[in-house]
């Protein structure tokens, strides 16, 4: 610690160079923080997904329907405590580009499935009594400026009405929130009964079921017994707990992860070369000064720790600033990739500091070796 002023002075020996190096390391860690932040946030989301809620969808494809008649059969499976369902609607407001995630549901069943859903009892009651009632998420309400009592005409990209009316009219009877605010609340939910009666085709089907189980360790066997119920039927199912489902969904994207890793590797490799070179250059120029320190009785170890200390201060400090900037940028970026509301994972900060320390130590190894083998007489003579 007492060498800190010496390390500090060494850093400011060539201020332009130190500042430029600092900036390039900061920039590298902004990138590291953003990219690693995205993948780590996705991992975070996966780990917070429920493993006591199963998703039951068509084995062929998510776009395939399942009969509403499955409801009672799934409920009868041992270990299942409750079942809810969701029918995709494909809604948009006025213009096809204004898509709104819209689902036909049974709100009471859905609420039982998702205890973290914040829904006032009066809203749930209003849904029961208002046939064309709709619930909207807080985010959606804020984005569109919609409020309770508004009548909203939506169109569907897929479903037409039997009465040939061009719009599906909904009356907003409530607004829902979702737990800790991590999940975007931008959906509109309306009564399945109203939807199924009015649509021209697809009647008696839903897009997916949710089933709640008590014991997460039994999610495998229970999923299997549900799928077995419908094996070899017209509509075969695939049941997964939410966590595995999301993991699979991210794997669908394919070769993206490889690109992210390749870019991080390229950035860090480049960074290592840059910092390493700066450190070597700075030590090379100071050989006579270091020789003077040696003649004063500084041990090899002390001088080497000066060299390491300087690199560590520069790299770790810059990494801290860089990751900090990344954390500041992350809300905007998470929104861009459709994962708004999640917080920047602490693990990225820790990883950033660890990586920067490794870069600092690796890049000061060659100059440190140089110090160790330094011959004082030659160095003082400028040889």
């Amino acid at each position: 610690m007492k060498y800190l002023p010496l390390v500090w002075a060494g850093l400011w020996r060539k201020p332009v160079r130190s500042i430029l190096t600092l900036l390039s390391v900061i920039v590298a860690f902004v990138l590291f923080g953003v990219m690693h932040g995205v993948t780590a946030a996705i991992d975070d989301i996966i780990n917070t997904m429920s493993d006591t809620r199963l998703r039951i969808q068509s084995k062929v494809s998510i776009a395939e329907p399942l009969p509403i008649a499955y409801l009672a059969r799934i409920e009868s499976v041992k270990g299942v405590e409750g079942v809810g369902y969701y029918a995709w609607f494909g809604g948009y407001y006025q213009d096809p580009r204004n898509q709104i995630s819209t689902g036909a549901v049974d709100v009471d069943r859905l609420h039982a499935m998702f205890p973290e859903l914040e829904l006032k009892d009066e809203y749930a009651a209003a849904m029961r009594t208002t046939r064309n009632g709709a619930l909207i998420g807080r985010d959606l309400a804020a984005a569109r400026g919609w409020k309770i009592g508004d009548k909203i005409p939506l169109k569907s990209t897929v479903y037409m009405r039997k009465d040939r009316a061009p719009d599906w009219d909904f009356e907003i009877v409530g607004i829902y929130g979702f737990g800790d605010g991590k999940v975007p609340t931008n959906e509109l939910w309306f009564n399945y009964a109203y939807f199924d009666e009015a649509r021209t085709f697809g009647n008696g089907t839903v897009s997916l079921y949710f089933a709640k189980i008590a014991d997460p360790s039994r999610s495998g066997p229970i999923s299997e017994s549900i799928d077995q119920l419908f094996a070899n039927s017209t509509f075969e199912t695939q049941t997964l707990n939410e966590r595995d489902w999301l993991r699979g969904r991210i794997a669908q994207i394919g070769d993206m992860q490889f690109f992210v890793n390749a870019i991080i590797a390229a950035v860090l490799f480049t960074l290592l070369i840059l910092t390493g070179n700066t450190m070597m250059q700075s030590v090379r120029e100071r050989i006579p000064e270091l020789a003077v320190l040696k003649t004063y009785g500084f041990s090899n170890g002390a001088i080497m720790s000066l060299v390491f200390g300087e690199a560590l201060l520069l790299c770790v400090g810059a990494a801290g600033i860089g990751v900090g900037i990344a954390a500041g940028l992350s809300p905007m970026i998470y929104r861009e990739i459709g994962a708004g509301g999640i917080s920047f994972p602490l693990s990225v900060v820790v990883a950033g500091i660890a990586v920067s320390a490794v870069v600092a130590i690796l890049s000061s190894l060659p100059p440190a070796r140089r110090v160790q083998t330094l011959n004082v007489v030659d160095a003082l003579a400028g040889r």
């Binding site: 332009v16 160079r17 430029l20 190096t21 900036l23 390039s24 920039v27 590298a28 902004v30 990138l31 953003v34 990219m35 084995k59 062929v60 494809s61 998510i62 776009a63 395939e64 494909g90 948009y92 096809p96 580009r97 169109k155 990209t157 897929v158 037409m160 085709f201 039927s233 017209t234 509509f235 075969e236 699979g248 969904r249 794997a251 669908q252 994207i253 394919g254 070769d255 993206m256 690109f259 390749a262 870019i263 390229a266 950035v267 490799f269 480049t270 960074l271 070369i273 840059l274 070179n277 700066t278 070597m280 250059q281 861009e336």
Partner: protein
């Protein structure tokens, strides 16, 4: 000595001295190689993705969707509408006299990737027999065509290579039925190759559907489009949107490529900033090692122009070298790679190409970094106080 001779002499002398600062010079080269490598890779992937989509469309074909649908997957057209569309003016005829049009039914099925077993959706399209007249680029390369009435499929080469269970003779279960793969087709690497095709009537009866998704027609000529569109959009019994096929795919490709374009620009921009700081660092130190040389030149009558040019030429040539290195690495690693991107309902398997025009993009990025990185150090070199600098000897 003219100004040009001065410049030539100073630049030449400086270039000869670069090997003595090899370490620091490498920093610029590697820093910029990193930027260019990443920029060329992401832009290359994005451009190849866009091209695979855009190449699928032809200006002499038109896509008819239900009004309000933004893609084929969410569109539905009833049988009477399809008949009206096929009878519209401007639609070409097959040699047998049928309308050159295919009303496709589109659904999707999950398949597992060969390399890691991850599942993704592939579009399964029921097409009419005229489809192969409408889309002549589809060529059967293995096996045979499906027989109408039988549950048989043909698969695109790209999809077949990427996903398992799509080889000839394999059985696929779709809705309540077993289907057999009987053929493999190619279509020049476009989006069709990431699809599975079946007979429309057979697929519709298996799925119990009464409506198709979209109609693609071959026009009598490119210029027949306006007449065709006019006829359909003014017909009060229809509520459809009509687009040239190339415009339709251009729109799809814009949706797909905007995101990666943003990523490429953001990541490349941030990396370029980092490389810029590294280049400034290197060039400042290059100038400071040349202090005595520069001062001596100025003392014996050389102008500032030559000195400035020598610094800029040095940084630009290092940047250029970095650009070539970075683009070369990107080309060696990624060119010709098969990229597979997917979601629940569709996937696209395409070849990534690192083309000379991408190299141009990379060089442009590198030269900007090299120019800015050399400018400030060159400024310092030009304003070097000669007397003080010489006293340093």
């Amino acid at each position: 000595m003219s100004v040009f001779q001065q410049i030539g002499a100073v630049v030449g002398m400086n270039m000869q001295s670069i090997p003595r600062r090899l370490g620091t010079s490498c920093v610029v080269v590697i820093g910029i190689a990193g930027v260019v490598g990443v920029v060329v890779s992401i832009f290359g992937m994005n451009r190849s993705l866009g091209e695979a989509l855009v190449d699928s469309g032809r200006p002499n074909r038109a896509v008819v969707l239900r009004n309000g649908s933004d893609g084929e997957g969410s569109s539905t057209l009833l049988t009477d509408a399809v008949a009206t569309i096929k009878d519209a003016p401007g639609v070409a005829r097959t040699p047998r006299g049928d309308a050159a049009a295919t009303a496709d039914m589109i659904t999707t099925a999950n398949f597992k990737r060969r390399k890691d077993g991850s599942a993704a959706g592939l579009p399964v399209r029921g097409v009419e027999p005229q489809a192969f007249f409408v889309r002549p680029e589809i060529r059967l390369v293995d096996g045979r065509l499906f027989n109408p009435g039988l549950r048989e499929l043909i698969v695109g080469r790209a999809a077949q290579k990427e996903f398992s269970g799509l080889d000839i003779g394999d059985h696929i279960s779709l809705r309540n039925s077993q289907w057999t793969v009987v053929g493999v087709f190619e279509s020049g690497g476009d989006v069709n190759e990431s699809r599975v095709l079946a007979d429309q009537a057979t697929l519709m009866s298996a799925y119990g559907r009464t409506a198709t998704s979209s109609v693609t027609v071959l026009l009598t000529s490119e210029s027949a489009f306006d007449e065709f569109k006019q006829a359909l959009t003014t017909n009060p019994t229809l509520s459809v949107s009509v687009e040239r096929e190339n415009d339709y795919y251009l729109r799809q490709s814009k949706n797909a490529t905007t995101f990666f374009g943003f990523v490429a620009t953001f990541v490349g921009g941030v990396m370029a900033l980092g490389a810029l700081f590294a280049a400034l660092n290197t060039m400042y130190s290059a100038v400071s090692t040349r202090v005595v040389e520069i001062a001596t030149l100025r003392a014996i009558g050389f102008g500032a122009t030559g000195v400035v040019t020598s610094v800029l030429v040095e940084s630009l040539s290092l940047a250029l070298l970095g650009a070539l290195l970075g683009a070369g690495v990107a080309w060696a690693l990624f060119s010709g790679n098969t990229i597979s991107l997917g979601n629940a309902t569709s996937s696209l398997v395409f070849q990534m190409h690192v083309t000379p025009s991408l190299l141009g993009v990379g060089i442009a990025w590198a030269l900007v970094v090299g120019l800015v990185g050399g400018l400030f150090p060159a400024w310092r070199a030009a304003r070097l106080p000669v007397a003080t600098a010489l006293r340093a000897v």
